[in-house]
Assembly symmetry: C2
Amino acid sequence: MPTDVAPGTPKYYLLKTEVLGLIAGLKPGTLIPTERALAGKYGTSRTTVRQAISELVAEGKLGRIQGHGTFVAPPKVTHVRQLTSFSDDARSQGLRPDSRVLGLDVIGADSGVAVQLGLEQGDPVTRLERIRLIEGEPLAHEVAWLPGRLPRLKSNLAKAGSLYAVLADVYGLRVADVEDTVETALAGPEDVRLLGIGMGAPLLVVHRLARDANGAPVEWTRSAFRGDRFRFVSRVKSGG
Amino acid sequence: MPTDVAPGTPKYYLLKTEVLGLIAGLKPGTLIPTERALAGKYGTSRTTVRQAISELVAEGKLGRIQGHGTFVAPPKVTHVRQLTSFSDDARSQGLRPDSRVLGLDVIGADSGVAVQLGLEQGDPVTRLERIRLIEGEPLAHEVAWLPGRLPRLKSNLAKAGSLYAVLADVYGLRVADVEDTVETALAGPEDVRLLGIGMGAPLLVVHRLARDANGAPVEWTRSAFRGDRFRFVSRVKSGG
DNA sequence: AGTTCACATTGGCATAGACCAATTGTGTTG
DNA sequence: CAACACAATTGGTCTATGCCAATGTGAACT
């Protein structure tokens, strides 16, 4: 461990940089020593080792599986969050996207959804809940609310894959502009279950409101992306 | 504490929801019981209380000051990350922005910066390091690299405030489009020192590459925003 | 009245140890 | 040879405790 450090730097942070050096250049998937081994090697408690490793996991540098071990994580996936769909974007990077529908129902809008979509509370909305996967790994949990009923959406969605394509081609709903809100959040039990991540793992939560050319809301979506596996890119061109 | 919970839910998570209920409706700034008091009240160890509170702090729900206490945090600031400047955007929301210049030098480009700006390693670049404040609170740490030398930038910047305004009006550099990459990161010692946050606090790190109308790089910036105090908004209009 | 200093309080960091849960390898059994 | 049972290993959670660092308070002293 380094000796010439700024005073006040916590020991777990030194250990963190130590482990970072340890894994530099290693291939993703390579197992690193166990927590107990690291604690012994660096003369610290397992608690301290866990804090260091927890942060490296949160940053996407390491992954860990209970009963198996801690390993070097694969690099983050870059997601260009434009009008393009999740699927198209992934494919353009040579990645194999997939989507699993967890639920598709017509329900009464709760107050939050009603406000966003400009409806009255209780008005019928279509709720589509999906898990987004890349290379077979679940990376995002997405719940979309669409105004009204969309008959046969499930089968249409199965055929086309992309929600925006189905909305445009089948239902004549064209998205003209979107507004995304991006913030950080921490994984709760549901995120843990659906995404296979650890409690408290950082998430990038995106709320999207899509409108058609007349400004009428078409879609209100909440997406929770794994913060350790994702980064977003947005491009903006000047009007002038 | 709740009794009818999903099996396998950690105790610290129950405590977290408990505290969330405790602070619902309280004004920002209100002090909550001390960690030791909560540990006693809920029959847990202080370690567990700290884990629950740490996550609430990371989510921007609580804040804490050593020696003082733990308190309800003010709501997040929403930042519309467009071509508009930080200052203009804050002002448009009725907030008082400020900027503190930490450093302004001409240096030789390191390899990373050279790649982004399309220069050779060692070519002169102007490095501008700033802290961004809103309502007197430091919320972001920003380092910008600009190709070449920009004489008298410091005084011009002091007059205009906005970097983009100075670049356009004084140096004739007009930003035509930008590409932002947003990802999560965790605060290290330097972020802690500059932003007054806790070790390991979540950050929203944005890398921006700005180009002029000819596609020539104008600016390469790394910004670290406090993830507990910020959310980003981006609007995209369809071309068609 | 103002300043200084000691002390109690509160959060920050770290230790040591215990038990649980998931995984994996091993050996036994059918 | 396949299937199952079991034990070892490894990460996940929690307790109990100690000391440090920053803050605020109040007494003591100019």
